[in-house]
Point group: C2
Chain length 329, copies 2
DNA sequence: AACAGTTATGTAATCCATTACATTAATACC
DNA sequence: GGTATTAATGTAATGGATTACATAACTGTT
């Protein structure tokens, strides 16, 4: 495999000139450029990025930390990240952390060791102290889940308000016994969405009952199903359920269906995220739409700006309530 | 940020010795090693991978080409790839090609330019000539979709046999009017699955009807829905549908449900892949289970072996018929 | 103590491209 | 034509590690 020296030799110029041609600098004569380009073609030369990146101290690789690639919520964000990254000549290295600190550390090392230029973290279970420390020396953005006052810029939505709207929608439909399937309260979004849920209830003089607050370990389908199973065992069942993720909601939906009850007639269901599948279920799912693609795209832009040394501000994006069959008759 | 020279200086040794400590070579005295390790700690030194990789001519990055990250079939494979890659100190760079040759080329350049050590391609729409040419100089494995006699090693399942079993299952249940929702016949897997479908019919003396063969552009939900819409307009509707992907099947399911018909009583449905969602639908989906995680894991192993210069053989993995509600009453 | 044989450490080349600075060539102007 | 500018090209240092080969420091033996 040819290197820049051989190209220079064949073209009868110096390596500097070849490099200039490679980097589209304007100070090269047309005829010199042509000579060089011919040599490049003849030798089938491809510049070695390891050499270039070593010299310029960049890798043009962005690290994406997600807890699980199985959740379509994240894959949609990734699409946004990738498209934006690509347009600025960055590539994305995918890291499914499984919320496992060891795995996370392997990936942190990549940025410490200059193999990645920055990180977009979407893992709610991330060890935030480690992340904050790393952020002092490297470029990091949080996406979706974030830590307040950590100094790490983030892009997210207003979770409290979104949950408020979702639950308010149920209240308006006449529901008073509304359960929530939440995830672990150690996560900020879980606390925020719970707050929104409670605010909507309070506003209409409904007292939240403890038995209507369910917590799951993860956001998956099975967890939603299990939670719903518990709910269905209650003496006085709720007439509506708000789940903090579509996967949970779809699990709940399935459990309700299997128990012979009907959605939305017996129990209405609202989800959160608006993943593609929320429109494929039977019945389709009412949910809060997060601008996932945009979130990813903005996160990528923020990160690239940060890498370039600009100061970046955190952003809160709009959400939207999508009304579908699971709440309307 | 410190480099190996500064560490050597502080420890009072040469860079070679530091490098030896870094790479766990046994020829270093205990006391020298300790001196070096202390210097490393004191300076907070992290070896620069760009430097190392330039020297050793490797990047320890594997490229994963998938058509769409939205299809859970691929994300499950990716899990297998990532876990195996990680265990061998490789990282994965994710490339959603959207079956767009331009995008694909951007990523090919990464391996041409030494920023990636090899490629696992899962894109059925890949330009196979380009891939074959690239495979002459670089390590490439195909996963799931492949090209016969291309010389590129692959890991896949027996598509013909799998489709045969799926359709045979329907025949055994008494169905005679069985439609197939296939994807474009330019894909090998589409031709193979069609062949399996036809073989199962032929074996029971059923003549395939043209009106029962539908083709879609992509494997998504909407495409399945559209195809099913056409099927439902037929004079003589089929009593069963075999879709070559779960997403298509779920789309079909939705369309049948919406039309007021019942699955499986009016029309039975069989999918292909066994993605997680196939068990979340209502009714749950009978499908062919592909060993996605294992496929990914093996593909990664094959690729790493190939990178190391070993010769690798193509592998065909087992599949399984998963019977669920969409075919049984 | 002297020498051979090991073992540990050091020196310097190498991987490949970028770029500050030096030099040469080309153009402008009197 | 000769000098002053400007534009094009070249030289060589640089980024940070690895490693073949050279050398120094031991260990063991007589």
């Amino acid at each position: 495999m040819a290197n820049i020296h051989q190209v220079a030799m064949l073209a009868g110029v110096s390596v500097a000139t070849v490099s200039r041609v490679l980097n589209q600098q304007e100070t090269v004569t047309a005829k010199t450029r042509i000579k060089v380009e011919e040599a490049i073609k003849k030798l089938n030369y491809e510049p070695n990025l390891l050499g270039r990146n070593l010299r310029t101290s960049e890798s043009r690789i962005l690290l994406i930390l997600i807890p699980s690639i199985s959740n379509p919520f994240y894959t949609e964000i990734i699409k946004g990240i990738e498209t934006t990254a690509l347009s600025q000549h960055y590539n994305i290295l995918l890291c499914e952390t499984d919320s496992n600190p060891e795995r996370e550390n392997i990936y942190y090392d990549l940025v410490r060791k200059k193999m990645a230029d920055g990180i977009i973290s979407m893992d709610p279970a991330v060890n935030i102290e480690t992340l904050i420390k790393l952020a002092q020396t490297h470029s990091i953005i949080q996406c979706s889940e974030y830590a307040e006052d950590s100094g790490i810029p983030y892009v997210t939505i207003n979770n409290e308000e979104a949950a408020y709207r979702a639950v308010k929608h149920l209240v308006k439909l006449g529901h008073e016994r509304i359960a929530i399937i939440n995830s672990d309260e150690k996560f900020l979004y879980a606390r925020q969405r719970l707050a929104g849920y409670k605010r909507a209830l309070a506003e209409h003089g409904i007292n939240p009952r403890d038995s209507y607050s369910l917590y799951t370990h993860q956001l998956g389908f099975d967890y939603g199903k299990q939670a719903m199973k518990k709910i269905l065992k209650l003496e006085e069942k709720p007439t509506a359920v708000f789940a903090v993720s579509d996967l949970l909601a779809i699990g709940a939906l399935k459990e309700i269906n299997q128990s012979g009850l009907n959605v939305p007639d017996d129990i209405a269901v609202v989800g959160f995220d608006n993943i593609d599948f929320s429109n494929m279920t039977n019945p389709t799912l009412t949910t809060i739409s997060q601008p996932m693609y945009k979130m990813g795209s903005i996160a990528a832009e923020m990160l690239i700006d940060k890498i370039k040394g600009k100061t970046v501000e955190s952003i809160t994006l709009d959400h939207e309530l999508i009304t579908r069959e699971s709440t309307s008759g």
